[in-house]
C-alpha cells in the first residue's frame, strides 16, 4: 500500500508513537527509579528524570548485591541465568534438530507414533507437569544444580516441529544427489542439513534464549541455595522484604540489568533472526 496523504502519514506516526510510549514508559520508569536514592520513590511524587545515584546503585548491585534479601550479587545471578538460558537454547536446538532429522529422513517402526507423542507434549507446558517434574528432578538429586535448572526444560516439541517443517521443504533431489555423492546419513546431516538450517537455528536460538532467560517458576522451585539463583527469580526475592520497605531503586537496577542480555541477543542476531523466519529459498 503506497499512498501519499499527509493526514494519513501524521495519523500513522501518531499511532506508532503512542505505541512506543505505552511500551517504553514502564521501562523508562524502571530506569529512572534505578538512578535515585532509596527514599525518592516513597515520597509520594514519582520522579520522571534520572537522579544522581546511577553509578552508585548499579555498582552496589553488581558488586555485593542486597545481602538482606539473601541473594548473591547480581553479576553472579546473571551468570547463572546465562548458563541456564544457553543450556536450554543450545540443548533444545541440538535435541530437536536430531529428532526432526530422524522423523523426516528415516523409516522406522512406530515413526508416526513417535512424532505424535512429541507433538502431544506441545499441549503440556512446564507449569502443567511441574509437580511430577519436580519429583523426578528431586529424585535424581538435581536440585540446586545447573542440570536441574536446564534439563527438564530442554525437551521441546515446538522446536522439533519447526525443524521438521524446515526439513520437509528440502527438495528430495538434494537428498538423492547427496546419496549419489556418497554422503551417508550423518554426513548428509552435517554437510547439508545443518548449514541449510543455519538461519532457522539462529531464529530459534533467539526465541529459546529469551524463553530460558525469562524462566521464573521453575528456578524458584528447584533452587534453594543462593549459589544457583537466577536473576529473574532473584528479582522476586529482592522485592520480598518481611518488615520494612522494598529497596525499589536497587530492585529496578537489577531489573534493568536483567533486561540487557536478551536485548543484546536480539540486536546482534536480528538479521539472521528475521531471515530465519521469512526465508523460503532452499
Amino acid at each position: 500500500m503506497i499512498e501519499n496523504r499527509p493526514g494519513l502519514n501524521a495519523l500513522a506516526h501518531l499511532v506508532l508513537i503512542l505505541g512506543v510510549v505505552v511500551v517504553a514508559l514502564p521501562v523508562w520508569v524502571a530506569f529512572v527509579a534505578s538512578t535515585h536514592g532509596p527514599t525518592d520513590f516513597m515520597s509520594g511524587t514519582v520522579p520522571m528524570w534520572p537522579g544522581p545515584h546511577l553509578v552508585e546503585n548499579y555498582a552496589k548491585m553488581l558488586d555485593t548485591g542486597l545481602s538482606t534479601s539473601g541473594t548473591p550479587p547480581v553479576g553472579w545471578m546473571m551468570f547463572n541465568s546465562l548458563v541456564m538460558a544457553l543450556s536450554i537454547a543450545l540443548g533444545k536446538i541440538a535435541i530437536s534438530i536430531l529428532s526432526a532429522f530422524a522423523i523426516v529422513y528415516f523409516r522406522f517402526p512406530l515413526r508416526g507414533l513417535a512424532f505424535w507423542c512429541i507433538f502431544v507434549t506441545l499441549m503440556l507446558p512446564v507449569e502443567v507437569r511441574i509437580v511430577p517434574t519436580f519429583q523426578v528432578v528431586a529424585g535424581l538429586g538435581l536440585l540446586n544444580s545447573y542440570a536441574g535448572l536446564s534439563i527438564p526444560l530442554i525437551a521441546s516439541a515446538t522446536a522439533t516441529f519447526l525443524f521438521r517443517q524446515v526439513f520437509l521443504t528440502m527438495p528430495d533431489e538434494l537428498v538423492e544427489a547427496a546419496r549419489i555423492d556418497g554422503a551417508g546419513p550423518m554426513k548428509f546431516f552435517r554437510d547439508i542439513l545443518l548449514p541449510l538450517s543455519r538461519t532457522n537455528m539462529a531464529a530459534l536460538f533467539v526465541i529459546l534464549f529469551i524463553y530460558g532467560w525469562n524462566q521464573y517458576l521453575w528456578p524458584l522451585l528447584v533452587t534453594t541455595s543462593s549459589d544457583y539463583y537466577t536473576i529473574v527469580a532473584g528479582i522476586k526475592r529482592l522485592a520480598d522484604v518481611v518488615d520494612g520497605l522494598p529497596q525499589w531503586h536497587l530492585v529496578m537496577a537489577t531489573a534493568v540489568l536483567a533486561m540487557l542480555p536478551p536485548v543484546a541477543v536480539v540486536i546482534f542476531m536480528q538479521k539472521l533472526f528475521v531471515k530465519g523466519l521469512v526465508e523460503t529459498e532452499k
Binding site: E176, A177, A183, I192
Partner: protein
Amino acid sequence: MASITLDNLGKVYPGGTRAVGDVNMQIADGEFIVLVGPSGCGKSTLLRMVAGLESITEGEVRIGDRVVNTVEPADRDIAMVFQNYALYPHMSVRQNLAYGLKNRGTSKAEITRRVDEAAEILQIGQFLDRKPRALSGGQRQRVAMGRAIVREPAAFLFDEPLSNLDAKLRVAMRLEIKELQRRLRTTSLYVTHDQLEAMTLADRLVVLNGGQVEQIGTPLEVYRNPASTFVAGFIGSPAMNLIPSRAVPHLPGSAHAGIIGIRPEDLAVDPDGPIEMQVRAVEELGAQRLVHGHTNGADLTITLGSHADLHDTLRLSAQPEALHRFDEKTGKRLA
C-alpha cells in the same frame, strides 16, 4: 566406462501398482540411450532403479559384469544430473563439484585437477567461487553436469535435465550434451518426454508406454518403422496420421490392415491421388505449412511447401513404401 544390462527389470510398488515391467536391454559401452515416453510411463522410475534411488522388485541391473541390485547409489559408479539441478545451495560451485570426490577420499591434488578440467570443458571456470543462487539456469545446468563429469563414472544418468530451461537454451544445451558425450564416450542414459530431444541425442531410443517398452532402436529405425501406433504417434512432429483403413479404401494394402499410418510429409498433392481431403485449417510455419483436414471422417494433417496452392479440397497420394500398417486391436505393426 561400462556396459549396462537390464534383465527382466520390473518395479511393483507396495500396493500392487506396476510402474515398470519386464524391461530387457543391453546398453553398450559408450552408447547414448534415451528413454522417452509420456509422463507417467515409468521412464524416470527405470532410470532411478539404475541409479539405485528406487528399489528393484523384479529382475536385475548389471553395470559392467556386476549385479548392482542392492548396491548403494554411491557405489554403483554412476553420476546423475537432475531436472532441478539439485546443487547444494550453501556450497560454492567448486565445493559442489568436489563434494562427491571428497566423500570418496580422493586426494586434494586430484580433486583440483578434475574440477579444473571439468570447469574447462564446461566453460564454468569464472563461476567456480560463486554460489549456485548467483548463476543463471543454464549455468546451473552446466555445474550439475560438471558434478557428474568430475566423478569420471561408468555411466551418466540424466533425468530430464533440460526441462527447466527456456526453449532456446534447451536447444543449445542439447547440442552441448551431445558433443560432450561424444568427447567423453561415457555410457549415458537420458530420460526425456520431448521426442525431438530424444531423436537428436540418442544413439538408440527406448520408447516406453505404461511401464512397458514399446520399441528400442536407432532414431531413424524408430522413425521409419514404428513398432506400434503409440510409437508412430509419439515420435515425429507433426505426428503421423493414423487413419482407419475404411476411410482410405483405395490405398494399397488397406484391405488387410485396421489402421494405416502416413507421415504428414509423405503425403503429396496429386490431382489423381486416391485420397480426398477437406481442408479445415492451415498453420503457417514459414518454411512450410501444416494443413489440417479430414477424409471420410478421419483427421488428416499434411505438410506443404509455403508456395503450394490451397483449395478447400485437396487430392493426395502417397508412395506405397511410406505407408505403415497397424493392427486395429493391438496397435502393433503388421509386416
